[in-house]
Symmetry: C2
Subunit: 331 residues, 2 copies
């Protein structure tokens, strides 16, 4: 990381990108990225020659999201401005030349607007315009899982793939869909695979994440047995030991996840499924029964490959930085 210690670095003084690939991106130019969640907002400095697939994340911080009835959009932007000043003071050797911001909910990325978030309470809040004016910097704004997907498509597990479903399986489930090499926006409404209906074990219909998410696995086990668990991992461990209720809850989760994957394969010709989020860490215990169940739901269709998300929990930050870099380069 020696290029970062070169305070004189600037695009004009770099003799060759082959000699100093990081400097070629703009010397000590970095993107400061924010991932706004319902409880915390995560931030971090993204550096490296992103166009070359070289990415590093530094000084990751978490702060409480400043929820404020009716004006959370405004207070989040205010906090981003404050934190940008804090990061600048802490890293005088770096030039924060762009900002990335991801938010959950319905997002109009083209317009730079947070259309709706149930947890955060905004409606049509103009993040890009507000932050561009307040910071005087290019802003890469997008949906949190969409941006994580973008990062996986461009730098991570899905590089070179054309028809991809990325699912981030945590407390809930959100997705990003790549068709023919482009991420589907759907006017900000695409990717809500966790809220698509699936057949429930009792014969009714349920939203997919109410059966397939890590949160649902823990909750459903406790509901079935009265036994508290700390999370889906406990349920998986119990299932491995032969606990009948844990096995049932786990099978239901696999069925729900597989059903939604098979929908994408049938409708979109999905060739690659990238799984991220806490539950994906289960590895083969998840991937193997999932692939087998998807297979049962298909006939003449493609059979997708299954990959683990490569960029980890900072994928959203990285995706927004990629977008911010694009904004900056085309500004």
């Amino acid at each position: 990381m020696n290029t970062l210690t070169n305070p004189a670095g600037s695009p004009g003084t770099v003799p060759s990108e082959h000699v100093q690939p990081v400097a070629a991106q703009g010397g000590n130019d970095v993107v400061l990225a924010f991932d706004i969640g319902g409880t915390d907002m995560k931030s971090g400095i993204i550096l490296g020659d992103l166009a070359q697939g070289d990415v590093q994340v530094r000084d990751v911080q978490r702060h409480p999201t400043p929820l404020e009835a009716g004006r959370t959009g405004e207070s989040v932007c205010g906090r981003i401005v404050e934190l940008t000043a804090v990061y600048r003071a802490a890293h005088p050797e770096l030039v924060i030349s762009a900002v990335g911001v991801t938010v959950p909910g319905i997002v109009d990325e083209e317009a730079g607007v947070g259309v709706f978030s149930a947890n955060l309470g905004w409606k049509n809040f103009p993040f890009t315009a507000t932050l561009t004016e307040a910071l005087g910097l290019p802003v890469g704004f997008g949906h949190d899982v969409g941006m994580a997907g973008e990062a996986e498509f461009r730098l991570g597990a899905a590089v070179g793939k054309k028809d991809v479903l990325i699912m981030v399986i945590g407390t809930g489930i959100a997705g990003a869909v790549l068709c023919d090499g482009s991420r589907v926006a759907g006017g900000g409404y695409a990717g809500e695979i966790g809220h698509a209906m699936v057949p429930a074990p009792d014969g009714s219909l349920a939203i997919m994440e109410s059966l397939g998410s890590a949160g649902a696995i823990a909750r459903r086990y406790t509901e079935a047995t009265g036994t508290a668990v700390s999370g889906a991992r406990d349920v998986l461990a119990l299932a491995a030991e032969g606990d009948a209720a844990a096995k049932t809850v786990w099978k239901d989760a696999i069925d729900a996840l597989a059903f939604s994957i098979a929908q994408c394969v049938s409708i979109l010709g999905t060739e690659t499924v990238v799984l991220g989020g806490g539950l994906s860490m289960a590895g083969a215990v998840l991937f193997e029964p999932l692939a087998a169940r998807v297979d049962e739901l298909l006939t003449f269709h493609r059979r997708p490959e299954y990959l683990h998300a490569a960029l980890g929990e900072n994928a959203g930050l990285i995706g927004s930085a990629l977008k911010a870099r694009t904004m900056k380069d085309t500004a």
Copy 2:
């Protein structure tokens, strides 16, 4: 259609496209289009200034598809060559300057290959290469429902829409999906919504077209009652008269169709649903309960509008002609 009687017409002699829009496309230049089905192959002359949304279909013919074990691809191409000569002889005033061909099954449109068709029995047959060589003309080759969708997107019901699901509901069900303004190819595997799983009335899973297609509606009514019907229209009429079995079969069909539409809305942000094929002629009896049922399956999602396919049963022919015209213009 007076421009067609101008045998001297050619692009060079047309003074203004505003005066003679059809001639502006190339005088008496036309596309001969073929829609290859499992039983019949339909053909017709497509003329008009396609780029201006002006399209006419003339001399539509149906001939038996020359099924030939192991070489149906070859025999279909042979028949296309013969019929092109027949059309030329019958229409000496027209110049057939390109050919459009649509086929069912898995189709690699980019490579011009019929990858697989269960009904027609080919595997990786190179339609575009075979016909281009045999005819010496540009060939617009594609999936039948995909090309019908393309036509609806460019000239029909879905003009100006960005996120569209087209379903053609006949004996079976096939779809075409438009995301962010582009038709999804999925390597030839996209659009198989009729073969996506849906919850069946008995609590199991079934492929969607086994409940929602016109063919399934007639078959399931006969299975339930022992009463033969001539088609789904009979079942609809019986349901309107209060026949309990007909009402159940119809409700099951609506549930299946709505389930698949809601999947698209959740995953892709679909804003417009275009329905074509025989069953779509049922009109409000289909559209109203369908929209109501989709609504029940959604929460914060988009609510799609429902449109009747505008180009009728010749949409596939028109779509392949549009593609052929593009091939010709870029040749």
